[in-house]
Symmetry: C2
């Protein structure tokens, strides 16, 4: 244990089920575990394990070419004229917003042959990381070791707000203080922000999401989960500081690759008790919610093809969550995995001077009802409608103007631009979709509140969930962006006089929601932050800082090798080809969700069938990595990460590389499709030129 | 109040939303409420309200022509040679069992042109009621008024077992003691039992379930939810004591009609507290379970068309339950409905000498965890696989042989034949379906057990739900009927030595399940029976016996009128035509679930479009009435009940005829389809002859 350089076993040796236990955090990083912040890159590991020199130039170039999609994904610049690639499933909300009943971009795909044909996304913000600065001491300033957690949290919040405000004033950048190591470290991330993002190319959903929910989180896989945008600034294509030249060659088995992206959340440093709580309460709650919504969306979609078009994106999103939660839940039900977690923790606790932080975590998480109320009322599980979100923003902005005691971190000055982009987004909101959505979520609220229905009643007004949903949607004018602007300009007092049903709901539930949030902050979140900070310090004392922090939707570097695996005694190949794609469609009689789009049917004889379409590697990824460029050692983009296989779901809690793999679109298949299937010659020429000029010696 | 003959207001007058409160049980039956046992028919009501003489001959003929489908539906003889009609959705399990990958009877439908082509259902039992006898005093013999509920229940169970056994010995019939008025009355129902039931005709699911889940429980509706069997005895078609001649004319608006069938369960006599508990706990539990299973079934179906064929029937069944629970939940969330229930109860309690029974109900239902454990472990929500059911039957039969202290009512002598038909049914069981089903249900078990996972662990064996499901399904040989016979012949001791994984599971969970059952019986069911018996007696004291008992899946007569209604200011017509059916397909671009079967496409120009296809009436029905013949005053079959509209869902708790309607296939549309679409001339000739010979004066 605590050996730093004992990773030789992970290369070349056949892994058994037992070897997974070597990848635990109490030892230094072995195998290919780790999502590394760009200011603490895994230089030593790469040098020792792969004899690769991860130099600063390579890192800077990757950092400046990577972008974060504010709707939850990753991407990267791929040309000097601002082309950006990401996953189709990150672009899909935009595609849906740009669609009309007459022109369904999700179904048909899109190609802009000239810059004037590019379509501006109504609601996208891209962030490109410029710098990272350790601000731990500023954030902790004024906090003493035995301070009441509530008071410490207040001071911390105040410090963070101040740091962000000053940094933004100074640089003009978007500046976010990021909490690392469960509150043991705080880093200031400064981003260049882009909001003029235009759609250049998207394939049909039929190929992007080939195999649908059935294939999601599965491998072998054949699909083309990609889309291309162009970023503008001041009306002109942006010239990024760097970009990823696309590789026309692709990868070989055993090759070292890197994933550069924004993993959302991992929970690997959480205590055993908290992981158990996640299994026993949080995941079952989330599964119940996901199923309730998915079910309602499906029923809405069944009623007509236009309904299906309107709700398609919500269905995909909730099905994806449900499948991910299922995989996590399955993993955490396994005694073998829970035992490993327990063993890791026991070792750490044996060396610790006090058991109090672990006990404090246990008592903080033992607040199911507090957690649930927070999810339902403050996190909006009871009313996840964009109409309600807009109403709440309008109400809380008016409150913040009215009285600083109402201030909430998400309404701080540095967040207002992004917030207003949300509120005034011209993306269409469909009344019938919102009725279906609210009908389902209000029913879920009632079902969860059970006998303790006082709060649910104040939302339902004594009506059935569906009747209340109808009343709310028919009683609001928030569909109209001008009306939103008018309401957002009112004072809190004037807002209270509005007869808009959604504004009235937001006002009515605000005290319940704030109470739910404040109790959750006090009883759960603040003590957890305090305790995890102490546990992290203990871990540093025992292990140093070799273990990267849990993912926080900030830029990270992962590495791994392109590698097949064994399942049920069968070798699962490291890649699939365009020929495999056609084969699977044939095998399913070309029936949905395995139906070829027309464009692919027509190109069947011209597409070169042995070109790689999808490949896998051992690199450590998680949700949020969707759309991450996958690079070879030369920094060329060889793939576009879009998924993990089912064995990778438990990676939220424990890294495994026995069978767990992340899955990427292979660039050769993408380029062949642009050429032969989409005849996107202009786009292809731009990518070729970018690649040629970059790889010049 | 307590007026028996004040029902004139319900005819001819426009009903308002308020008038629903007149249909409450504290007054005598008004409107068209009531599912009447055949030994207490609504003669007076019909004479007074409709001037119709409900004579004994009419009643006897209807009783002997009606049949109960043991899988949860109703039906009726329609020819002197044993033809029986029911709903397609009651026949669908049989259709699924008779299907193969090469010949999917659900998708394609079926027609036997000769008797030799008829297909024997592997797993159907039909019951035809012969007599009803009041055995209340025998059941209550030995029970004193202040006896411990547990002891009273034991005595009652013993008496019932004895009565059933003796009656079966004497008559050779299937004899069931039925609990009425929440235990205030017990009647002995004796049935002729038929097990040789052969499929004659079924339409394609595309027309039987046209509109799918989207149209289920909705109106206006166009579909043909019907199927026809022939009953055999000793290898020959049965000659029923009577049958329903089919009407070729159909119904007119305002016409009096009767529904003869087996309504499953209503809850109209339950206390306010229990209905509230149903809303707060039971329905949310059932919704969560239904969604979990529906979700898993959908994912299984998505993977291939053969998967979809195998699981289609389960999907339809669970979607139907989920939609019904949703309707009930929506209804009970309405303060207006709950207030009505409270008002009714308050009136009854004001006149009562003691409040104790109501208090006892409240304390009995306040046992959520007991109720949930009973559902999960004893009612098999944790393992709803037919493989487990077979394993449990085998284990419990061996226990019953071994020691009478293990006796459970469902393993009594009079039940053994039906039980063995279940265990040794040759209906196919698909390993992949069972893995999907058990994977989902075991996950639901774990999710529900939450932190209190001791029992879940003993089922899961420390594996993930999906791994455990795989282990169980791959470790059992119960797919093989011969192996089931072998295991069923073993003693309990020998059974314990079996290495069959499903038998082992049944043995392992038996103590948990019996404990869950026994605690539930003691704490919930027995006190409820006791209390409801007291409440029922109080009600009799105040109101007499004019109010029919809650439904119990026994033969009942309902009546009502064919009647349109108003919704959202629009008149909803009392019937739809075959032309409307084609119109709806066209309106949905003939896309699923509104796609015409080929046979209907090809017949489009020849079908007479103004013939009625579906109609509605105010008669009082509930689940279990599916497949009930709908009769005119002459006893001719004018329709086949198959559904309620959404406003009828709350009828489980409160009868309403403002907008609530039951929905029936109209016989003229059915006969036109047999003639023109299916060219079923032999079948049509038999029905015509039956109709002609019966309606002879």
């Amino acid at each position: 244990m605590n050996k730093r350089n004992s990773s030789a076993i992970s290369l070349g040796l056949a892994f058994t089920a037992l070897s997974i236990s070597l990848a635990c955090y109490t030892s230094s990083v072995r195998a290919d575990e780790g999502m590394f912040p760009f200011n603490t890159p895994p230089k030593e590991q790469l040098a020792q394990k792969y004899h690769f020199d991860l130099n600063q130039e390579w890192l800077d170039k990757a950092m400046h070419a990577a972008v974060r999609f504010n709707n939850g994904g990753s991407g990267g610049f791929i040309s000097p004229d601002g082309l950006v690639i990401t996953n189709h499933h990150i672009a899909d909300a935009t595609l849906s917003e740009l669609s009309t009943p007459q022109n369904d971009l999700i179904a048909r795909g899109f190609l802009a042959r000239t810059r004037s044909e590019e379509l501006k996304a109504p609601n996208l913000e891209l962030n490109c990381l410029q710098s990272i600065e350790d601000v731990t001491s500023q954030v902790q300033a004024g906090i003493t070791s035995n301070m009441d957690p509530q008071k410490a949290a207040d001071i911390r919040r105040g410090n963070i707000s101040e740091i962000e405000k000053k940094a933004t004033q100074k640089t003009g950048l978007r500046c976010d203080v990021v909490t690392l190591y469960q509150g043991s470290r705080y880093h200031l991330y400064s981003y260049k922000k882009y909001t003029d993002v235009r759609l250049v190319w998207a394939p049909e959903e039929g190929v992007a999401f080939f195999g649908g929910d059935a294939d999601n989180f599965e491998y072998p896989r054949t699909c083309l989960d990609a889309a291309i945008f162009r970023v503008y600034e001041n009306g002109k294509p942006v010239q990024p500081q760097s970009y990823f030249p696309m590789s026309f060659e692709g990868v070989k088995e055993g090759e070292l690759v890197f994933v550069v992206g924004h993993p959302g959340t991992t929970n690997r440093l959480e205590t055993y008790a908290q992981v158990e709580h996640t299994r026993n309460f949080t995941l079952p709650y989330r599964l119940a919610k996901a199923r309730a919504m998915e079910n309602a969306y499906h029923q809405f979609a069944e009623r007509s093809t236009e309904n299906a078009r309107r709700i398609n994106n919500d269905i995909r999103s909730v099905a994806n969550s449900r499948k991910a939660y299922t995989g996590m839940y399955e993993g955490l039900c396994q005694e073998a995995i829970m035992k490993r977690k327990a063993d890791q923790e026991n070792k750490l606790r044996e060396g610790a001077s006090s058991q109090n932080p672990w006990k404090a975590v246990e008592s903080a998480i033992n607040n199911d009802k507090v957690e649930e109320n927070y999810y339902l009322f403050e996190r909006c599980d009871a009313y996840p409608s964009p109409l309600f979100h807009i109403a709440r923003h309008i109400v809380r902005l008016a409150q913040a103007k009215d009285n600083s005691k109402y201030e909430l971190p998400e309404y701080r000055a540095n967040k207002l631009d992004s917030l207003k982009a949300d509120i005034f987004s011209p993306a269409p909101i469909y009344a019938d979709v919102e009725k279906a959505r609210l009908g389902a979520s209000l029913s879920f609220l009632g079902e969860r509140c059970g006998p303790d229905r006082a709060d649910a009643h104040s939302v339902l007004h004594g009506l059935s969930p569906q009747d209340r949903a109808q009343q709310l949607v028919e009683g609001t004018r928030l569909f109209d962006v001008d009306e939103r602007r008018r309401l957002a300009s009112l004072s809190l007092e004037d807002l209270k006089k509005s007869d808009d049903a959604m504004i009235q709901l937001a006002l009515e539930v605000d005290p319940i929601a704030r109470e739910a949030r404040s109790v959750y902050e006090d009883k759960v979140r603040s003590p957890l932050i305090q305790s995890y900070s102490q546990i992290a310090q203990e871990r540093f004392r025992q292990e140093g800082m070799q273990v990267p922090p849990d993912a926080t939707f900030t830029l990270r570097l992962s590495y791994g090798v392109v590698k097949s695996y064994e399942d049920n005694g069968q070798k699962v190949p490291y890649m699939t080809t365009l020929g495999d794609f056609y084969g699977r469609a044939q095998q399913h009689q070309n029936a949905a969700p395995y139906q070829l789009p027309k464009s692919w049917e027509l190109s069947a004889t011209r597409v070169q069938s042995d070109i790689p379409m999808v490949f896998i590697s051992t690199a450590d990824t998680i949700g949020g990595n969707s759309g991450s460029p996958v690079l070879n050692t030369r920094g060329e983009m060889v793939g576009l990460n879009f998924d993990r296989n089912q064995f990778g779901m438990v990676r939220n809690y424990v890294y495994d590389e026995t069978k767990a793999r992340h899955i990427s679109v292979a660039t050769p298949g993408l380029l062949e499709a642009l050429d032969i299937v989409y005849n996107a010659q202009e786009l292809l020429a731009e990518l070729k030129a970018a690649s040629a000029s970059s790889t010049k010696p």
